[in-house]
């Protein structure tokens, strides 16, 4: 088809404008994070941090590092738990044709629909009795419920595409199901493992509902609570709050830059988010 260059030039310009509008809040977060305390209440606000300051980021370094560390540990723990549970399940559902597998897949679809606060309230009641409130393992288990159903779905879909002849050949060579899974299916599912890990990390890093119900007031609190308490405690220092928000957005930014194709694949695979 023939398109004159001037026509597509206009489309690019429109696209840039639309993206600019959409991402304005993100720009504003950056702008405020560099704004000095004395300029914070200026009216109208500076559209652009002429006298940029790093005060906000200094506050992050001074106060928020433990929160960031906790979130990192919880995020990685959630990734490991999610992959460990979901990859074998995906293999079984995709390749071993278990009786009742359809029902299990259905239950996972349903599980995804349960609102987070309801899960949180149930977990709270259970953790209170088990003494798991305000604990890192407790939060890892709770956060993994955000990702496991999605992960089973992704692994099942991906592993269905592995050619049956390959697995058959392994069997012929005397490999059992476990061996086949470990040395053939799992290495071939690298892309699915990456997609699942990215989302599991991102969701657990971003989780606020479980954090605020199960970890609030404890010794190890994730960064989402760090920001939340910041807003509650000193709502004057918005540069510090926004600087923390910028730092908390880094995993999302890294994922978008390094692993964009996995993200798009995840969303269209029926990806979901609270």
């Amino acid at each position: 088809m023939n398109r004159s260059p001037s026509r597509t030039w206009w489309k690019t310009a429109t696209g840039l404008l639309l993206t600019g509008i959409m991402l304005f809040p993100v720009y504003w977060m950056l702008n405020v994070s560099f704004t000095r305390d004395q300029d914070m209440r200026k009216s109208p606000p500076d559209l652009f941090p002429a006298d940029a300051t790093l005060e906000g980021y200094r506050a992050v370094l001074d106060q928020q590092l433990p929160y960031l560390g906790t979130s990192l540990v919880i995020g990685l723990g959630t990734v490991v738990l999610t992959v460990a549970l979901a990859a074998p399940a995906g293999y079984a559902l995709a390749k071993l044709r278990p009786r009742g597998g359809g029902l299990l897949g259905f239950l996972f679809l349903v599980a995804q629909m349960i609102p987070g606060i309801i899960m949180a309230m149930g977990f709270y009641a259970i953790y209170l009795q088990l003494g798991l409130l305000q604990s890192v393992p407790g939060l890892i288990v709770a956060d993994s419920t955000l990702a496991v159903p999605f992960a089973v779905l992704i692994f099942t879909a991906f592993m269905s595409g592995i050619p049956g002849e390959l697995l058959q050949a392994a069997k012929t060579d005397g490999a059992g199901a476990l061996r086949t899974f470990r040395s053939i299916v799992l290495p071939m599912s690298r892309n699915a493992v990456v997609t699942v890990s990215l989302f599991a990390f991102l969701w657990s890093w971003s989780d606020f509902v479980f954090a605020s119900t199960l970890a609030s007031g404890g010794a190890h609190q994730p960064i989402t609570l760090g920001i939340y308490q910041y807003i509650g405690n000193n709502n004057q220092e918005w540069n510090a709050i926004m600087a923390t928000a910028v730092v908390a957005s880094l995993p999302a930014a890294v994922i978008l830059v390094l692993a964009q194709r996995y993200v798009a694949a995840g969303v269209t695979a029926g990806a979901v988010k609270d």
Partner: protein, 331 residues
């Protein structure tokens, strides 16, 4: 899913029975016997792989859900919550919340919030999907950037919007004043708080709609558009006669999934307004949290009861979604 795979089963068996001889280890007799009864042994293997996740489903989905139902049927106090000896009171908690003055506004806000968010997210997402479906420089890059709001932690989005909508120092009021509009108390006025959280939530939901609808557009054959263009249809007619009707299955899935996930939105509202001022932006999700965790004296029973109403609503629409999806997969 199941039937299609079973047709691939018999040939597998044959290949197994013809050992190639190149295999390093000659299969010992017990393995031979197992091979003959493959379906049974495969069932065992399958369920061995599924056991962890099944236990997980029972322990971390079914049991919390059960605990929640149990909570809603007993009269819990902080003490009996710890000791676990709360008296059974049947549906009393449900009666309590139905009579609560917050019930009617919470129901109304949940419906309005969900409906308005869905309509705008879908309409904006579809318009953007059609726009980005065209070929122009940077199209793919810009579309990827649109994912940012969806990837950001909700606390980040919510706190950024809170500050942007701040009555005195927010950029939104500053921009409005340049066109002569008086400052709006976005988050502190009962008549604006629901609008504010809706705006923030639409912003978060647009990327999901854009990406899913865009992938739907790609499955519409280009030849249809070319034929329509030859027949002299303009782009408006092409959209309403081709794009929109052919996108209906994808639209249905997008809207239903959006419905289930918008019903349970909690973070955004809680962080921006805590459901206030004076319950003006409270929904079932925030009300449930407010009852269970928001006060000094927690009302776990009524909180769980509100939560269970939400579960029922989410599951009803969730099952509709699954049905629609299955039907589409079959056709």
């Amino acid at each position: 899913m199941g039937p299609m795979k079973q047709t691939a089963h018999p040939p597998d068996h044959r290949t197994v029975r013809t050992p190639t001889g190149t295999a390093a280890a000659p299969a010992p007799p017990p393995a031979r016997a197992a091979t003959r009864r493959r379906p049974a042994s495969q069932q065992w293997a399958a369920w061995a792989f599924l056991t962890p996740v099944t236990l997980y489903l029972v322990l971390f989905y079914a049991y919390p859900l059960y605990r929640n139902i149990d909570l809603s049927l007993r009269n819990y106090t902080v003490r009996s919550f710890v000791q676990g000896d709360a008296p059974f009171t049947g549906l009393e908690n449900y009666g309590k919340i139905l009579d609560d003055p917050t019930f009617a506004p919470a129901l109304l806000h949940t419906v309005v919030f969900t409906a308005v968010c869905l309509v705008f997210q879908y309409a904006i997402g579809l318009a953007l999907a059609v726009f980005f479906h065209q070929h122009f420089r940077l199209s793919a890059t810009l579309r990827a950037l649109f994912l940012v709001p969806w990837l950001l932690p909700l606390i980040v989005s919510a706190s950024t919007w809170s500050w942007m909508l701040n009555s005195d120092s927010g950029i939104v009021n500053a921009l409005l004043s340049t066109v002569g509009v008086d400052p709006v108390n976005w988050l502190t006025s009962p008549s604006w708080s629901l609008t504010s959280v809706i705006i923030a939530n639409i912003w978060i939901g647009v990327p999901f709609n854009l990406v899913v609808l865009h992938s739907g557009l790609q499955s519409i054959p280009a030849s249809l558009y070319e034929a329509a263009a030859l027949d002299g249809a303009n782009s408006w007619q092409r959209f309403w006669r081709i794009t929109f009707p052919l996108l209906r299955p994808v639209s249905a899935i997008t809207l239903l999934l959006g419905l289930v996930y918008t019903l349970k939105v909690f973070d955004i509202i809680w962080i921006m307004t805590k459901g206030g001022p004076a319950d003006s932006s409270t929904t079932f999700a925030t009300w449930s949290y407010q009852l269970g965790f928001g006060n000094l004296l927690p009302a776990f029973g009524p909180g769980a009861a509100v939560g269970n109403l939400l579960v029922v609503a989410a599951l009803v629409f969730g099952l509709v979604y699954i049905r629609v999806q299955r039907k589409q997969a079959l056709s």
